[in-house]
């Protein structure tokens, strides 16, 4: 079975995100492989033990190489990096990735359930549609048996179990697995693994359908009225009074 994992490099969750002049500034921010993508990489490695026939595919700038190396250090076999500084809308991304998927001809493609930079859940669905494939979103359990996938996934009001034929797109969710940490020898090995480079222009995409007008950090000013709980009853009474009389929420 051949498996592709779409991956992204995003600011580390603990990184302080800054914005200046209407634009997010990631200079100096610690970047990492998106946690949601790690679930996909891990699942690929559990299906194809040893990592044979597993390929990372990344669409993004030069810095994405760190995330690619991380996925290779976890155990994927090789990578394709569609290198670009363009910030493309999801339909354009799907058009490029469709071409890469057709070149690579996998049975299964893992996509992160929600990206930690764009907060988007759209790529898996968009790519599935571009390919005419079925897909499972927010997948928490996956088993494969002779070309048929059985999956459980989270829905708006609970869970659903599905059966579908491969090829298919699986988008990840917490609970799918516990991603491994790369070992030192594997980090060394990953440095020698192949990264095939290409560009969006090779697939005929040169601009985005969506324009980013501005990016701002809008922090709601918070009152920060903190009470000392040494006298629990007094503190509780005061908190309820504040919520009732001042905030008027109860």
């Amino acid at each position: 079975m051949k498996i592709l994992c779409l991956i992204r490099q995003v600011p580390d969750a603990e990184a302080k995100v800054k914005a200046a002049l209407g634009k997010v500034d990631l200079d100096g921010a610690t970047m990492a492989l998106d946690g949601m993508d790690e679930y996909g990489v891990e699942q690929a490695l559990r299906i194809n033990e040893g990592g044979a026939n597993t390929v990372a595919v990344a669409l993004g700038n030069t810095r994405f190489e760190d995330a690619i190396r991380r996925s290779l250090a976890m155990g994927l076999e090789r990578a394709v990096h569609i290198e670009t500084d363009l910030l493309l809308d999801v339909v354009s991304q799907a058009q490029i990735l469709k071409a890469v998927v057709l070149e690579e001809a996998p049975d299964l493609v893992f996509v992160g359930g929600q990206h930690a930079d764009t907060d988007s859940q759209a790529l898996g669905a968009a790519l599935a549609e571009a390919l005419g494939w079925n897909q499972v979103t927010w997948t928490t359990e996956l088993s494969l048996d002779s070309g048929i996938a059985k999956a459980t996934h989270d829905t708006d009001d609970g869970k659903e179990s599905l059966e579908l034929a491969l090829p298919a797109i699986i988008t990840t969710q917490q609970g799918l697995n516990e991603p491994r940490y790369p070992t030192l020898p594997n980090i060394m090995k990953a440095k020698k693994k192949e990264i095939r480079k290409t560009t969006p222009e090779q697939y005929g995409i040169t601009n985005s359908k969506v324009r980013i007008v501005s990016q701002e950090i809008q922090e709601r000013p918070r009152l920060n009225k903190l009470l000392d709980g040494k006298d629990p009853v007094a503190a509780a009474n005061e908190l309820i009074r504040l919520l009732h009389e001042e905030a008027k929420v109860i």
Binding site: D119, A122, A128, K209, K225, L226, V233, A236, V249
Partner: protein
Amino acid sequence: MILVVCEFDTKLKKSALEILGAAQRLGSSVTAVLLGTGAGNVALQAAQYASQVLVCEDALLAGAKNLAQAVSDLSEQAEATLVLMAGSRGGREIAPRVAVRLDAPYLEDATVLSSIEGGLQIQHYAYLARVTETLEAVAPIVVCSVKPNTQVVAELNSKTGEIFEVELELNASGVTVLGRTVEKTSRVALTEASLVVTGGRGLGSPENFALIESLADVLGAGVGATRAAVDAGWRPYGEQVGQTGKTVQPNAYIAVGVSGAVQHLSGMGKSKNIVAINKDAEAPIFKVADYGIIGDLHAIMPALIEAAKKLR
């Protein structure tokens, strides 16, 4: 014309009333679309908010692929310039497929929508909701999903809209549903609650969640949990708030024994008031709190429940 894809069960869901409201305010004529079993039962209700209602109950209308085909076929036939969908999990699975089919720009999870010459401008959150982005798309047709609980619901029109039954040409989707479980709660749904009480790992045990439930019941609040509490098996996943759980924006969010990790904040950080109870004065949750008590929840919570009861 704006095509509004409505979610419903026995009546229109709140998400549908919200996106119908957004469509009304954008000022163009509104066509509501009702797809799937039971659509006919809500057509009259939808007709009170839209000038046209398109109804299709084809049994093949299930699964993202077929629903997306239906929406894109109908929007082409009706010559829509904008397709609005709910930003629920289901909506956000279908909407990008519609955009691909129409080769249209897709704007996702909008919190604010405004018309611009030849297109649409929206705001939405990015970077785990730490950043507010303004995006715009100019195109003959734009697809947009709208974040739940961000829009004022639709107003009744003076004139009832026309209802049309439509036929679609669909094929079997290739996905078989083996089973479904719906998580029921006797309390108000988390995403619709105006008050939420959430417990974290600090509760220490599933039994101690009785403290959270009692306060929630006195206040008429929804109950939430952190991932730590869900992973420990103390609470069902449906209660999880955060990046990989639900997003809530209540009038007051009361976090008890919750540290305030970025992934948790991304699901509740836009709440109008944040209240924290934590024994650690340095806990990050206090940095975003409007009100809080620094102390042991085992002492504070019973007192808080008593104080809240007196208010009733």
